[in-house]
Protein backbone atom coordinates (compact mmCIF):
# COMPACT_ATOMS: atom_id res chain seq x y z
CA UNK A 1 0.00 0.00 0.00
CA UNK A 2 1.50 3.34 -1.02
CA UNK A 3 0.31 6.62 0.34
CA UNK A 4 1.35 10.19 -0.18
CA UNK A 5 0.25 13.66 0.71
CA UNK A 6 0.74 16.72 -1.46
CA UNK A 7 -0.09 20.28 -0.47
CA UNK A 8 -0.50 22.56 -3.46
CA UNK A 9 1.16 25.91 -2.84
CA UNK A 10 -1.61 28.46 -2.35
CA UNK A 11 -4.08 25.64 -2.91
CA UNK A 12 -5.45 22.54 -1.28
CA UNK A 13 -4.23 19.19 0.04
CA UNK A 14 -4.38 15.87 -1.82
CA UNK A 15 -3.88 12.43 -0.27
CA UNK A 16 -3.55 9.28 -2.33
CA UNK A 17 -3.73 5.69 -1.16
CA UNK A 18 -2.99 3.06 -3.76
CA UNK A 19 -1.89 -0.47 -4.42
CA UNK A 20 0.14 -1.48 -7.45
CA UNK A 21 0.07 -4.87 -9.15
CA UNK A 22 2.40 -5.73 -12.05
CA UNK A 23 3.34 -2.07 -12.38
CA UNK A 24 -0.27 -0.97 -12.69
CA UNK A 25 -2.69 0.75 -10.31
CA UNK A 26 -4.98 -1.86 -8.75
CA UNK A 27 -6.83 0.20 -6.12
CA UNK A 28 -6.77 3.93 -5.59
CA UNK A 29 -8.46 6.36 -3.24
CA UNK A 30 -8.01 10.12 -3.54
CA UNK A 31 -8.97 12.25 -0.55
CA UNK A 32 -8.34 15.84 0.56
CA UNK A 33 -9.80 19.27 1.15
CA UNK A 34 -10.01 20.29 -2.50
CA UNK A 35 -13.09 21.09 -4.58
CA UNK A 36 -14.28 19.18 -7.62
CA UNK A 37 -17.54 19.93 -9.41
CA UNK A 38 -19.60 17.84 -9.84
CA UNK A 39 -18.29 16.02 -6.77
CA UNK A 40 -19.20 12.50 -7.96
CA UNK A 41 -16.59 12.79 -10.72
CA UNK A 42 -13.94 11.79 -8.16
CA UNK A 43 -15.24 8.24 -8.55
CA UNK A 44 -14.96 8.45 -12.34
CA UNK A 45 -11.36 9.62 -11.93
CA UNK A 46 -10.52 6.76 -9.57
CA UNK A 47 -12.19 4.26 -11.89
CA UNK A 48 -10.31 5.59 -14.93
CA UNK A 49 -6.97 5.36 -13.12
CA UNK A 50 -7.30 1.65 -12.36
CA UNK A 51 -5.12 -0.49 -14.60
CA UNK A 52 -2.84 2.40 -15.57
CA UNK A 53 0.89 2.45 -15.12
CA UNK A 54 2.70 5.19 -13.24
CA UNK A 55 3.60 7.83 -15.79
CA UNK A 56 2.98 11.36 -14.64
CA UNK A 57 2.21 12.82 -18.07
CA UNK A 58 -0.17 10.00 -18.92
CA UNK A 59 -1.96 10.23 -15.56
CA UNK A 60 -2.28 13.98 -15.99
CA UNK A 61 -3.72 13.52 -19.48
CA UNK A 62 -6.11 10.83 -18.28
CA UNK A 63 -7.47 12.99 -15.46
CA UNK A 64 -7.78 15.98 -17.79
CA UNK A 65 -9.81 13.84 -20.16
CA UNK A 66 -12.17 12.64 -17.42
CA UNK A 67 -12.77 16.24 -16.33
CA UNK A 68 -13.37 17.29 -19.93
CA UNK A 69 -15.75 14.46 -20.75
CA UNK A 70 -17.75 15.06 -17.55
CA UNK A 71 -17.60 18.86 -17.93
CA UNK A 72 -16.06 18.92 -14.48
CA UNK A 73 -13.65 21.39 -12.91
CA UNK A 74 -11.34 21.18 -9.95
CA UNK A 75 -10.58 24.11 -7.64
CA UNK A 76 -7.48 24.41 -5.48
CA UNK A 77 -5.82 21.49 -7.26
CA UNK A 78 -5.08 20.63 -10.91
CA UNK A 79 -4.97 17.32 -12.80
CA UNK A 80 -1.17 17.72 -12.71
CA UNK A 81 -1.28 17.95 -8.89
CA UNK A 82 -3.31 14.74 -8.69
CA UNK A 83 -0.84 13.04 -11.06
CA UNK A 84 2.13 14.17 -8.96
CA UNK A 85 0.60 12.89 -5.75
CA UNK A 86 -0.22 9.54 -7.40
CA UNK A 87 3.42 9.26 -8.54
CA UNK A 88 4.62 10.00 -5.00
CA UNK A 89 2.32 7.31 -3.57
CA UNK A 90 3.44 4.88 -6.26
CA UNK A 91 7.11 5.40 -5.43
CA UNK A 92 6.40 4.68 -1.77
CA UNK A 93 4.53 1.54 -2.74
CA UNK A 94 7.48 0.21 -4.76
Amino acid sequence: MGRAEYKVKGGKLIRVHLTIENGKIKHIKITGDFFLHPEEVIEDIEQALKGHSLDEDELNHLIENVLKSKQAISIGVSPRDFARCIMMAGEKNG
Binding site: L13, K29, T31, G32, D33, F34, F35, E39, I75
Partner: protein, 256 residues
Protein backbone atom coordinates in the same frame (compact mmCIF):
# COMPACT_ATOMS: atom_id res chain seq x y z
CA UNK B 1 -39.21 46.76 -6.09
CA UNK B 2 -36.39 45.13 -4.18
CA UNK B 3 -36.01 41.43 -4.73
CA UNK B 4 -37.19 39.37 -1.76
CA UNK B 5 -35.37 36.35 -0.35
CA UNK B 6 -36.40 34.09 2.49
CA UNK B 7 -34.51 34.24 5.78
CA UNK B 8 -34.48 31.09 7.89
CA UNK B 9 -33.08 30.83 11.38
CA UNK B 10 -33.28 27.16 12.29
CA UNK B 11 -31.49 27.52 15.62
CA UNK B 12 -29.82 24.57 17.33
CA UNK B 13 -29.97 21.14 15.73
CA UNK B 14 -27.78 18.10 15.36
CA UNK B 15 -25.27 17.67 12.55
CA UNK B 16 -27.30 15.16 10.55
CA UNK B 17 -30.44 17.30 10.43
CA UNK B 18 -28.40 20.42 9.72
CA UNK B 19 -26.76 18.92 6.65
CA UNK B 20 -29.98 17.21 5.55
CA UNK B 21 -31.96 20.46 5.71
CA UNK B 22 -29.39 22.26 3.56
CA UNK B 23 -29.81 19.65 0.84
CA UNK B 24 -33.59 19.60 1.28
CA UNK B 25 -33.73 23.37 0.71
CA UNK B 26 -31.58 22.98 -2.42
CA UNK B 27 -33.97 20.31 -3.73
CA UNK B 28 -37.01 22.47 -2.93
CA UNK B 29 -35.32 25.39 -4.68
CA UNK B 30 -34.60 23.25 -7.75
CA UNK B 31 -38.31 22.45 -7.96
CA UNK B 32 -39.15 26.16 -7.60
CA UNK B 33 -41.04 25.39 -4.39
CA UNK B 34 -39.25 28.02 -2.31
CA UNK B 35 -37.60 31.43 -2.80
CA UNK B 36 -33.86 32.05 -2.79
CA UNK B 37 -32.89 31.51 0.81
CA UNK B 38 -30.34 32.47 3.45
CA UNK B 39 -30.30 30.25 6.50
CA UNK B 40 -28.56 30.65 9.86
CA UNK B 41 -28.00 27.63 12.04
CA UNK B 42 -25.97 26.22 14.92
CA UNK B 43 -24.91 22.78 16.08
CA UNK B 44 -26.09 20.96 19.20
CA UNK B 45 -24.38 18.73 20.13
CA UNK B 46 -21.17 20.23 18.75
CA UNK B 47 -19.96 18.47 15.62
CA UNK B 48 -17.13 18.03 13.17
CA UNK B 49 -18.04 18.30 9.52
CA UNK B 50 -15.66 17.02 6.87
CA UNK B 51 -15.45 17.87 3.19
CA UNK B 52 -16.99 15.61 0.55
CA UNK B 53 -13.58 14.24 -0.49
CA UNK B 54 -12.08 13.76 2.95
CA UNK B 55 -11.64 10.53 4.83
CA UNK B 56 -13.46 10.42 8.18
CA UNK B 57 -10.75 8.22 9.72
CA UNK B 58 -7.96 10.48 8.47
CA UNK B 59 -9.50 13.73 9.66
CA UNK B 60 -11.46 12.97 12.82
CA UNK B 61 -10.48 11.48 16.17
CA UNK B 62 -13.62 9.36 16.34
CA UNK B 63 -12.85 7.97 19.78
CA UNK B 64 -12.40 11.45 21.25
CA UNK B 65 -15.65 12.62 19.58
CA UNK B 66 -17.58 9.66 20.98
CA UNK B 67 -16.21 10.32 24.46
CA UNK B 68 -17.02 14.02 24.28
CA UNK B 69 -20.47 13.51 22.71
CA UNK B 70 -19.45 15.31 19.51
CA UNK B 71 -21.12 14.29 16.24
CA UNK B 72 -19.28 13.85 12.95
CA UNK B 73 -20.76 14.22 9.51
CA UNK B 74 -19.69 14.37 5.88
CA UNK B 75 -20.83 17.47 3.97
CA UNK B 76 -22.15 17.56 0.41
CA UNK B 77 -19.52 20.25 -0.29
CA UNK B 78 -15.76 19.92 -0.67
CA UNK B 79 -13.21 21.69 1.49
CA UNK B 80 -11.74 20.88 4.87
CA UNK B 81 -12.76 19.60 8.29
CA UNK B 82 -14.49 22.09 10.58
CA UNK B 83 -15.23 21.88 14.29
CA UNK B 84 -18.66 23.44 14.91
CA UNK B 85 -18.81 24.49 18.55
CA UNK B 86 -22.32 25.19 19.85
CA UNK B 87 -21.32 28.56 21.32
CA UNK B 88 -18.24 29.27 19.24
CA UNK B 89 -19.59 29.62 15.75
CA UNK B 90 -22.49 30.51 13.51
CA UNK B 91 -23.14 28.68 10.27
CA UNK B 92 -24.98 30.11 7.28
CA UNK B 93 -26.23 28.71 3.99
CA UNK B 94 -27.13 30.47 0.79
CA UNK B 95 -29.37 28.58 -1.62
CA UNK B 96 -29.94 30.45 -4.88
CA UNK B 97 -30.89 29.74 -8.50
CA UNK B 98 -27.86 29.22 -10.70
CA UNK B 99 -29.31 31.69 -13.20
CA UNK B 100 -29.40 34.47 -10.60
CA UNK B 101 -27.49 37.69 -11.37
CA UNK B 102 -25.17 37.07 -8.39
CA UNK B 103 -23.97 33.76 -9.83
CA UNK B 104 -21.11 33.53 -12.28
CA UNK B 105 -20.03 30.43 -14.17
CA UNK B 106 -16.69 31.05 -12.47
CA UNK B 107 -16.60 29.51 -8.98
CA UNK B 108 -13.91 31.82 -7.68
CA UNK B 109 -15.88 34.88 -8.70
CA UNK B 110 -19.05 33.47 -7.14
CA UNK B 111 -17.27 32.74 -3.85
CA UNK B 112 -16.14 36.34 -3.76
CA UNK B 113 -19.62 37.69 -4.56
CA UNK B 114 -21.46 35.53 -2.04
CA UNK B 115 -18.81 36.15 0.62
CA UNK B 116 -19.18 39.91 0.06
CA UNK B 117 -22.40 39.78 2.09
CA UNK B 118 -20.51 38.29 5.04
CA UNK B 119 -17.57 40.67 4.61
CA UNK B 120 -19.89 43.68 4.67
CA UNK B 121 -21.80 42.32 7.65
CA UNK B 122 -18.60 41.74 9.60
CA UNK B 123 -17.38 45.25 8.78
CA UNK B 124 -20.67 46.67 10.05
CA UNK B 125 -19.90 44.91 13.30
CA UNK B 126 -16.50 46.58 13.37
CA UNK B 127 -14.47 43.56 12.22
CA UNK B 128 -12.04 44.53 9.42
CA UNK B 129 -12.83 41.58 7.19
CA UNK B 130 -11.75 40.77 3.66
CA UNK B 131 -12.21 37.92 1.24
CA UNK B 132 -9.17 35.73 0.69
CA UNK B 133 -9.17 33.32 -2.24
CA UNK B 134 -9.92 30.48 -2.57
CA UNK B 135 -12.76 30.38 -0.06
CA UNK B 136 -11.83 32.19 3.16
CA UNK B 137 -12.60 35.44 4.92
CA UNK B 138 -9.77 36.88 7.01
CA UNK B 139 -9.37 39.66 9.53
CA UNK B 140 -5.91 41.10 10.20
CA UNK B 141 -4.66 38.27 7.98
CA UNK B 142 -6.20 35.56 10.15
CA UNK B 143 -9.03 33.30 9.07
CA UNK B 144 -12.40 34.14 10.59
CA UNK B 145 -14.67 32.31 8.13
CA UNK B 146 -14.43 29.29 5.82
CA UNK B 147 -16.88 28.67 2.99
CA UNK B 148 -17.77 25.88 0.59
CA UNK B 149 -19.95 25.73 -2.48
CA UNK B 150 -21.64 23.09 -4.57
CA UNK B 151 -23.88 23.23 -7.62
CA UNK B 152 -26.44 20.87 -9.02
CA UNK B 153 -30.02 20.81 -10.26
CA UNK B 154 -29.50 24.46 -11.40
CA UNK B 155 -29.06 25.57 -7.81
CA UNK B 156 -25.99 27.04 -6.11
CA UNK B 157 -25.56 26.09 -2.48
CA UNK B 158 -22.87 27.78 -0.42
CA UNK B 159 -22.46 27.31 3.28
CA UNK B 160 -19.82 28.43 5.70
CA UNK B 161 -18.81 29.09 9.23
CA UNK B 162 -18.20 32.35 11.07
CA UNK B 163 -16.05 32.05 14.19
CA UNK B 164 -17.44 33.86 17.21
CA UNK B 165 -14.90 32.45 19.64
CA UNK B 166 -12.25 29.86 19.05
CA UNK B 167 -10.66 27.15 21.18
CA UNK B 168 -7.75 25.59 19.24
CA UNK B 169 -6.99 23.08 22.01
CA UNK B 170 -10.47 21.60 21.79
CA UNK B 171 -10.31 21.73 17.99
CA UNK B 172 -7.31 19.43 18.06
CA UNK B 173 -8.89 17.04 20.50
CA UNK B 174 -11.45 16.18 17.85
CA UNK B 175 -9.42 16.63 14.67
CA UNK B 176 -6.64 14.16 13.95
CA UNK B 177 -3.09 15.36 14.30
CA UNK B 178 -0.29 13.58 12.42
CA UNK B 179 1.48 12.81 15.70
CA UNK B 180 1.18 13.65 19.39
CA UNK B 181 4.60 15.29 19.24
CA UNK B 182 3.35 18.07 17.00
CA UNK B 183 -0.04 18.59 18.64
CA UNK B 184 1.16 21.61 20.64
CA UNK B 185 2.84 23.03 17.58
CA UNK B 186 -0.39 22.71 15.59
CA UNK B 187 -2.42 24.33 18.35
CA UNK B 188 0.04 27.21 18.37
CA UNK B 189 -0.08 27.53 14.61
CA UNK B 190 -3.89 27.67 14.64
CA UNK B 191 -3.75 30.32 17.35
CA UNK B 192 -1.61 32.35 14.97
CA UNK B 193 -3.60 31.72 11.81
CA UNK B 194 -7.19 31.77 13.06
CA UNK B 195 -9.14 34.44 14.88
CA UNK B 196 -12.71 35.10 15.98
CA UNK B 197 -15.14 37.97 16.27
CA UNK B 198 -14.77 38.13 20.05
CA UNK B 199 -10.97 38.18 19.69
CA UNK B 200 -10.97 40.96 17.12
CA UNK B 201 -13.48 43.14 18.96
CA UNK B 202 -12.26 42.33 22.46
CA UNK B 203 -15.80 41.83 23.73
CA UNK B 204 -18.51 39.22 23.79
CA UNK B 205 -20.69 39.53 20.68
CA UNK B 206 -24.07 37.80 20.95
CA UNK B 207 -25.45 35.61 18.19
CA UNK B 208 -28.34 38.08 17.84
CA UNK B 209 -25.97 40.98 17.22
CA UNK B 210 -23.89 38.92 14.80
CA UNK B 211 -26.92 37.75 12.83
CA UNK B 212 -28.38 41.25 12.63
CA UNK B 213 -25.12 42.58 11.20
CA UNK B 214 -24.90 39.75 8.67
CA UNK B 215 -28.53 40.26 7.61
CA UNK B 216 -27.75 43.93 6.88
CA UNK B 217 -24.57 42.91 5.07
CA UNK B 218 -26.39 40.41 2.84
CA UNK B 219 -29.25 42.81 2.08
CA UNK B 220 -26.93 45.63 1.10
CA UNK B 221 -24.33 43.56 -0.78
CA UNK B 222 -26.90 41.46 -2.67
CA UNK B 223 -29.45 44.29 -3.10
CA UNK B 224 -32.20 42.13 -1.64
CA UNK B 225 -34.76 42.20 1.16
CA UNK B 226 -34.56 39.29 3.58
CA UNK B 227 -38.00 38.25 4.76
CA UNK B 228 -38.14 36.00 7.80
CA UNK B 229 -39.89 32.77 6.88
CA UNK B 230 -40.26 29.12 7.77
CA UNK B 231 -39.28 25.82 6.26
CA UNK B 232 -42.01 24.16 4.21
CA UNK B 233 -43.51 20.73 4.87
CA UNK B 234 -41.75 19.52 1.74
CA UNK B 235 -38.40 20.67 3.13
CA UNK B 236 -39.00 19.18 6.58
CA UNK B 237 -40.11 15.82 5.16
CA UNK B 238 -37.19 15.75 2.74
CA UNK B 239 -34.79 16.71 5.55
CA UNK B 240 -36.03 13.85 7.75
CA UNK B 241 -35.61 11.42 4.88
CA UNK B 242 -32.10 12.66 3.99
CA UNK B 243 -31.12 12.68 7.64
CA UNK B 244 -32.06 9.03 8.12
CA UNK B 245 -31.03 7.67 4.76
CA UNK B 246 -27.92 9.75 4.11
CA UNK B 247 -26.33 12.06 6.65
CA UNK B 248 -26.77 9.87 9.74
CA UNK B 249 -25.68 6.74 7.85
CA UNK B 250 -22.33 5.10 8.28
CA UNK B 251 -22.27 4.42 4.57
CA UNK B 252 -22.24 8.14 3.72
CA UNK B 253 -20.03 9.33 6.57
CA UNK B 254 -17.35 6.68 6.08
CA UNK B 255 -17.56 6.34 2.31
CA UNK B 256 -14.07 7.78 1.73
Amino acid sequence: MVEKWRLLDTGLNNAFYNMALDEAIAIAKSKSLVPNTIRFFRWKPPAVSIGYFQSMEEEVDIKACDELGIDYVRRRTGGGAVYHDTEGELTYSIIVDQTHRLISEDFQETYQTLCSGLVLGLRKLGVPAEFKPINDIVSHGRKISGNAQTRGMNVVHQHGTILRKVDPALMFRVLKVPSEKIRDKMIKSVEERVTSINNVLGRNVSFRELKDALIEGFEEAFKIDLVTGNTTDFEENMAQKLKTEKYASREWNFRR
